[in-house]
């Protein structure tokens, strides 16, 4: 698979995550801002696009369905059909995979990729949990957050960590966001270590509200344009290539993430993210890399998901993600700078846009053109982006590189 046909990303764009601005125009303003920024970045006219793919969290989350026609018309791109993907926080990775297939097959040559979401069209605190199995866990009151909290509790118990891990993780996110003018929490002081390590109840090892406050729910959009590798030289920016990618899944109920009785999940428990692990294995094989080649990573970041993600990506061994974070290895001078835009904690948690935001950030890092130099990873050549869907039961891993073949 190392010889899979690569595609180039030649333009990227994002909407601001300043909620006070974005909420005036809603999702339509956000998608227009992101797409036209990507077109400008590529020096491409809208009429040059010949295909499109879009991800959003889902109809229940934003109150819109059948998005192909309204989206294309909103963007002024009709009659181009923009294929909808509905895969929550990991769908931007599926958007990239779908667009890759279109370009590599020759079906289209200039494909718009878009990932977006809106947090205030409907009551998302209820409906975003429908991303879980809604016949069982959802009805029993076990949503995305509860399932992740069970994973965290199991991780603390198995490896002997405490809330300092998640506190350091959150503070790192704020460090990056404070150096990212597009971040929702740009110039917002981070919660203190005391706030972040305060338990909801003594002995619970679960953070109180102060930590949860750190997750930056906003609406917003990310866009990027993919073309065949051989066309990359036609565009002005340093080319970045999608060299590997995969989407894998694991059982959708949190109770089935312990000793699921098939060979693929043998020995798995709540601290494991096999969907990410399998997707990473395939994506690295396609790209011809190992975890040691990774210069920076973007992972799904609320709570301890980041530590689990670093381990599933192979950047750390099982149980060592917590130490990696405590040792500062996710910082700008660390072994693997992680969530360099501030991540979902402090850049924005925009669900459908999450992996799209990771891809845009990675492209800018690999070009060496991050807006504020303080968070520029020096001499970066390989970036990975990890999506986390529902309870971690779906995951994309995307490998981007500026290396030529």
């Amino acid at each position: 698979m190392a010889n899979a046909k690569r595609v180039a990303i030649v333009g990227v764009g994002q909407s601001l995550r300043d909620t006070a601005i974005n909420k005036k125009g809603g999702w339509k303003t956000a998608v227009v801002d992101a797409v036209y920024a990507a077109l400008k970045d590529a020096r491409m006219e809208p009429t040059e696009l010949d295909g499109g793919v879009v991800n959003y969290h889902g109809e229940a989350y934003m109150g819109h369905g059948g998005l192909g026609p309204p989206l294309a018309e909103t963007l002024g791109l009709a009659p181009i059909g923009i294929i909808p993907v509905i895969a929550q926080c990991t769908g931007g990775g599926i958007t990239a995979l779908t667009a890759w297939s279109q370009v590599a097959s020759g079906l289209h040559r200039r494909v718009l990729c878009l990932a977006f979401d809106v947090d205030d069209n409907v009551h998302i605190l209820d409906n975003y949990n429908v991303s879980n199995d809604s016949d069982w866990d959802y009805m029993a009151g076990i949503g995305h957050e509860e399932a992740l909290a069970l994973r965290e509790a199991a991780y603390y118990r198995k490896y002997g960590y405490d809330l300092k891990v998640v506190a350091r993780w959150y503070q790192s996110a704020y460090w990056y966001a404070n150096r990212n003018p597009k971040a929702a929490y740009f110039k917002v002081p981070p919660p203190s270590m005391e706030e972040l390590t305060r338990e909801v109840l003594p002995g619970s090892k679960l953070p109180s509200l102060e930590a949860n406050r750190g997750v930056a729910f906003t609406l917003g959009a990310a866009a990027w344009i993919m073309v065949p590798e051989e066309d990359a030289a036609k565009y002005p920016k340093k080319p970045v290539y999608m060299a590997g990618g995969e989407y894998c899944v694991s059982p959708a109920l949190i109770s089935k993430n312990i000793r699921y009785p098939t060979a693929a999940f043998e020995g798995s428990d709540l601290t494991d993210l096999p969907a990410t692990r399998y997707a990473a294995r395939k994506a690295y094989e396609m790209a011809g890399i190992t975890p040691d080649d990774i210069d920076l990573a973007q992972t799904y970041s609320p709570g301890l998901a980041g530590a689990l993600g670093l381990e599933a990506l192979g950047i750390c061994k099982p149980g060592e993600g917590g130490k990696f974070i405590l040792d500062g290895q996710i910082g700008i001078e660390g072994k693997c700078p992680t969530n360099t835009n501030g991540g979902q904690i402090a850049f924005s948690l925009t669900s459908g846009s999450d992996v799209g935001d990771m891809i845009v950030e990675s492209v800018q890092q690999l070009r060496g053109e991050v807006d504020l130099p303080a968070r520029q990873v020096k001499n970066a050549e390989v970036a990975v982006c990890q999506g986390y869907q529902a309870i971690g039961s779906g995951s994309t891993v995307t490998v981007l590189t500026n290396r030529k073949r």
């Binding site: 009551h123 009805m139 009151g141 509790a153 909801v200 109840l201 679960l206 509200l209 312990i258």
Partner: protein, 148 residues
């Protein structure tokens, strides 16, 4: 407001009674499935295929109603009155991963106990309690667990 209830009820998503009825045996008494080919047991009930051997011949299986707490969290949701989750008892709650006596796992709330009394390894038994509301304001019911 619902015409049937004085409580504030959110109707962004309309669930029906039908889906609850389809899964009633699992929700009310932990009835799962057993593969008649390889013998693997499952909860919730499978719908026509065993993922382990891919056999299509499945029978019903009665899960044990007792087990032990393998992991738990104490959830303190501050959005109780605003979240529209329809979930009974939302607010401070104990959510546990329970290993049933046959080794199957179920995630469910623990009730009838103080949060300070929850321990990994404690014995629990299944009860039927309120889950969420249906679109007609009726409560859906399902499994929860209490100290054995």
């Amino acid at each position: 407001m619902s015409q049937f209830s004085g409580e504030w009820i959110n109707h962004d998503m309309i669930f029906t009674t039908f889906r609850a009825w389809r899964e009633r045996l699992g929700r009310y008494r932990l009835e799962g499935s057993k593969c008649l080919g390889c013998g693997q047991v499952w909860f919730p009930q499978r719908h026509g295929v065993c993922p382990k051997c891919h056999g299509r011949d499945l029978g019903s299986y009665q899960c044990p109603s007792t087990g032990k707490v393998e992991e738990f969290i104490i959830k303190d949701n501050p959005f109780t009155d605003l979240s529209g989750t329809h979930y009974h008892g939302r607010g401070k709650r104990v959510l546990a991963m329970i290993e049933l006596d046959d080794g199957l796992h179920v995630a469910a709330d623990l009730e009838d106990l103080s949060t300070a009394d929850v321990k990994v390894g404690m014995r629990v038994r299944m009860v039927t309690r309120k889950w969420m509301r249906e679109s007609n304001s009726n409560w859906q019911y399902g499994y929860k667990f209490v100290p054995a």
